[in-house]
């Protein structure tokens, strides 16, 4: 079973890298871009076969290590 974790800076936390990408896109002529937020995608391969258990485990991994919940939010997708 595989899981995909999306980690993003929370809304309201300044994302300097996203801002830099937005500026670069503007320079390239993509004037319609109003905002860019940059995050991480982490893919996990798991032994667990029970999807609900696996998802709970990944949630715990996010809380303990994969995301810093002071500034980041996360979303887990089982695949």
């Amino acid at each position: 079973m595989k899981a995909r974790v999306f980690v993003m800076l929370k809304n309201g936390v300044l994302d300097p890298q996203g801002e830099a990408v937005r500026h670069a896109l503007g320079t390239l002529g993509f004037d319609s871009v109003q905002g860019v937020r940059q995050g991480k995608v982490i893919e996990l391969e798991l032994d667990e076969t029970d999807a609900a258990l696996a998802e709970a485990q990944v949630g715990e991994m996010c809380e303990k290590l994969l995301a810093n919940t002071v500034i980041e939010s996360y979303r887990v997708e089982m695949i």
Binding site: L14, Q17, L66, N68, V70, I71
Partner: protein, 230 residues
């Protein structure tokens, strides 16, 4: 006084810290132990654990995140839980926030740049052993060298830090976007300090300044017997 300096793969200010502790505490016979990250226990009688600057574990995942979950960090948590002192500098500050021993988090610098220069700080409180040899409002010069020094706490936590006089140092000219110009913060019991600037790199006149010496002088006075009451 016995200081334990944690060493992670990628730490690069660990020996600078050792020299700063030993030079400032020569008269008191300060003892310094270097502790490898795989060690699960600290030596007996450690008064302060220092978490050095550098790039522990290559800053993989997030700065300080892997170090905060290494075996020695459990020993660090226990040390702090029993009232021990801890000092985290630069990457060490990031490690202390990742362990939850200090509030907040360090984000990418607002201007995206790795910033390496000497900056002026204002001492914001004298009420900690770390800052006891400074005076409030005293301006000191210390180097910063980081890419992720942009301190963040939410508005409620910022208000709490201010109300509890837990901001140790502020930047005179904020170099990285830190909330409230914060350069260093204290734990609720005032025995844990995290700061992005490097006092250990301002501890020798031949190496660019001595404004950091007062912190190591003050820490030299720590002794196991004093810990319970200080």
């Amino acid at each position: 006084m016995h200081a334990a300096i944690l060493v992670f793969p990628g730490s690069n200010c660990d020996r600078d810290l050792k020299v700063a502790f030993e030079a400032a505490g020569a008269a008191e016979g300060v003892k310094v132990s270097m502790i490898w990250h795989k060690d699960q226990e600290l030596p007996d009688g450690v008064d302060i654990v220092a978490v050095p600057g550098g790039f522990s574990f290559g800053d993989y995942l997030r700065c300080g995140a892997i170090a905060a979950n290494s075996p020695v960090s459990e020993a660090l948590r226990k040390h702090v839980a029993r009232g021990g002192y801890a000092l985290g500098i630069c990457n060490g500050f990031q490690v202390l926030t990742e362990t939850g021993l200090l509030p907040g988090a360090l984000r990418r610098n607002a201007d995206q740049k790795f910033t390496c220069k000497t900056v002026a700080l204002d001492v914001a409180t004298q009420n900690s052993v770390f800052t006891s040899e400074y005076s409030v409002g005293q301006r000191i010069n210390t180097p910063i060298a980081n890419h992720d020094g942009n301190y963040f706490v939410d508005a409620d936590t910022l208000a709490q830090l201010r109300a509890e006089d837990r901001i140790a140092f502020t930047y005179v000219d904020n170099p990285n976007g830190s909330v409230g110009d914060i350069a260093g913060v204290l734990s609720a019991n005032r025995r844990v300090l995290g700061m992005m600037p490097h006092p250990e790199r301002a501890a020798d006149a031949a190496l660019g300044g001595t404004d950091g010496v007062a912190m190591f002088r003050a820490l030299s006075g720590l002794a196991a017997g004093v810990m319970a009451t200080a």
